[in-house]
């Protein structure tokens, strides 16, 4: 599903490599943690996968397609297949929970009826039934991240990309969110999580890719955070 071959990324000439000669392959339905300290290259890798950035070296294939050669007008269609979850939730604050989730369907041109049919089950799946009409600013951090998750999965994407999804949450709420991501994975969606939350990684025992100063220094099935750090 994702293949990186000698992948490199440099933000400018003469600058340090943000990613240096990265190689990995991620299968469909996998659950993978990208771990490493700040500046290790986790977020850069995520940005390359959704083609927010173009790699400066090597090849990155997403859904068997080289993202570098993807024309700009095709990017929306790539992104509709990837649900994004962010540390800062990135919700539209003026709007309700329902509107935020429905938004991902509106941009893909779904009918109003289809949207009405799809949003409520997703809201109940993330535990937000009854909060559809609430403004997102009136919700707790954990609830806001649930809205972010609902928005990411409502389009039934093949893959979820979560960049530090628990970074702004207390440990209990963080665990809830990770459990949700895990259950989404069990339903057949590939889940990639960039994190430096040691407890979470160690608890779930999934595949772990270790990044350090832009280099991939470890790739372990059922890994734990502390193996390298």
């Amino acid at each position: 599903m994702i293949e990186a071959r000698n992948l490199g990324m440099q933000y400018g000439r003469g600058k340090q490599l943000a990613l240096d000669n990265i190689n990995f392959f991620i299968e469909r339905n996998e659950f993978v943690f990208f771990v490493g300290s700040s500046g290790a290259g986790k977020s850069t890798l995520m940005k390359l996968i959704i083609r927010e950035l173009k790699p400066t070296g090597g090849v990155l294939k997403v859904f068997n397609r080289d993202v570098s050669s993807l024309p700009r007008h095709r990017l929306p269609y790539l992104r509709r297949n990837i649900g994004m979850v962010f540390q800062d939730f990135r919700l539209m604050e003026e709007r309700t929970v329902y509107d935020n989730v429905a938004f991902a369907l509106i941009v893909t041109g779904k009918s109003r009826r289809e949207i009405k049919r799809r949003v409520p089950p997703v809201l109940s799946m993330v535990g937000l039934e009854g909060k559809a009409k609430a403004k997102v600013t009136n919700l707790s951090g954990g609830e806001q991240q649930r809205v972010g998750l609902a928005r990411a999965i409502v389009n039934r994407p093949a893959m979820i990309l979560a960049d530090e999804p628990t970074g702004n949450l207390d440990p209990g709420t963080a665990l809830d969110i990770m459990n949700l991501l895990h259950s989404i994975n069990l339903r057949g969606t590939t889940v990639l999580v960039a994190t430096h939350n040691r407890e979470i990684v160690d608890r779930f025992r999934k595949r772990v890719l270790y990044l350090e100063n832009g280099r991939l220094v470890g790739d372990e099935q059922k890994g734990i955070y502390t193996n390298v750090h």
Binding site: H73, L78, R90, L91, G109
Partner: protein
């Protein structure tokens, strides 16, 4: 599918206008003030042009024939004048006709008054040129024709009039172009601020897979609407002001200021200002968006 997207975009446009109402108010105000000034210059220019045209219509020259010119010379002169490619029309006025006109102008003061002298007035050709501005040059040419005593065309007055109207037109045009560019610049900056305020929202749209046009449309429509309102309001104001001005001209019997009728001015202004406002709005919004769409 398409209808749902359209309803959403329309809703977003209206919501966007409401949420950023002060900013939109400012942008529209900027367009309004600029187009109002533009409209004023245009009105002045249109009327200057109109007055020039009217005066040009009246410009003609009189080629006086030498008193002792024989019939053949006069006929030859008449043929030479009417055959000239820059001459639109020639009319022969005999000395008797001149006297008749003079008597008419003096309101019968000369009636019954016989000096016993010969008619001192010279016969002439009244010449209308194709291009009124060529009168000065042609007068010089016709003076050299055989049998011509003198050529009159309002020397000095005509030259000044053409020079002044040319300057008015050029200055007006330069100001209009300058103002239009200023308007595009100002509205693109004010809309850039609205876009900047919604940068976060645009980024989210990009992440969930919105196409650039899906994001652009509400801003596009917003710009268009602001440009339209910003053009229609000055049109109303200009109509009101022009009406007052024409009434003032009539009331003060300044009829020599030959103004264009209100309807003509408003139609010309509407045809020019409304599309310009809409284009300014669209340009302003699209120019300011490019950078934010590259996510």
């Amino acid at each position: 599918m398409f209808i749902n997207g359209f309803i959403y975009i329309l809703g977003e446009t209206l919501k966007g206008l409401y949420r950023n109402r002060w900013m939109c108010f400012t942008s529209t105000g900027v367009v309004m003030v600029t187009l109002l000034m533009l409209g004023m210059f245009m009105t002045i220019n249109l009327n200057a042009q109109h007055i020039t045209e009217v005066v040009k219509e009246q410009v003609e020259m009189v080629v006086y024939i030498e008193e002792d010119a024989d019939r053949a010379t006069v006929e030859e002169l008449g043929r030479a004048l009417s055959g000239h490619k820059e001459v639109a029309g020639v009319q022969y006025i005999s000395s008797e006709e001149h006297m008749g006109r003079l008597q008419q102008q003096l309101g019968g003061m000369l009636e019954g008054y016989d000096t016993g002298l010969e008619n001192p007035l010279l016969a002439s050709f009244e010449v209308k040129t194709v291009d009124p501005e060529a009168v000065v040059r042609l007068a010089g040419e016709f003076e050299t024709y055989p049998g011509v005593a003198a050529v009159f065309y309002g020397r000095g007055y005509v030259e000044d009039l053409f020079a002044v109207t040319r300057v008015v037109q050029l200055v007006g045009l330069a100001l209009m172009v300058g103002l239009a560019i200023t308007a595009v610049f100002l509205i693109s900056h004010t809309i850039k601020l609205t876009v900047l305020m919604r940068q976060r929202e645009i980024k989210i749209m990009k992440y969930v897979g919105a196409t650039n046009w899906f994001i652009r449309w509400p801003f596009f429509l917003e710009g268009m609407l602001m440009g339209f309102v910003g053009a229609v309001l000055p049109l109303g104001i200009l109509q009101y002001l022009y009406q007052i001005f024409t009434q003032w001209v009539t009331a003060n019997e300044l009829m020599f200021i030959n103004l264009l009728p209100l309807q003509d001015v408003i139609i010309a202004l509407a045809v020019f200002l409304v599309p310009l406002g809409v284009v300014i709005g669209i340009l302003g919004s699209t120019l300011s968006m490019g950078r934010f769409l590259k996510v």
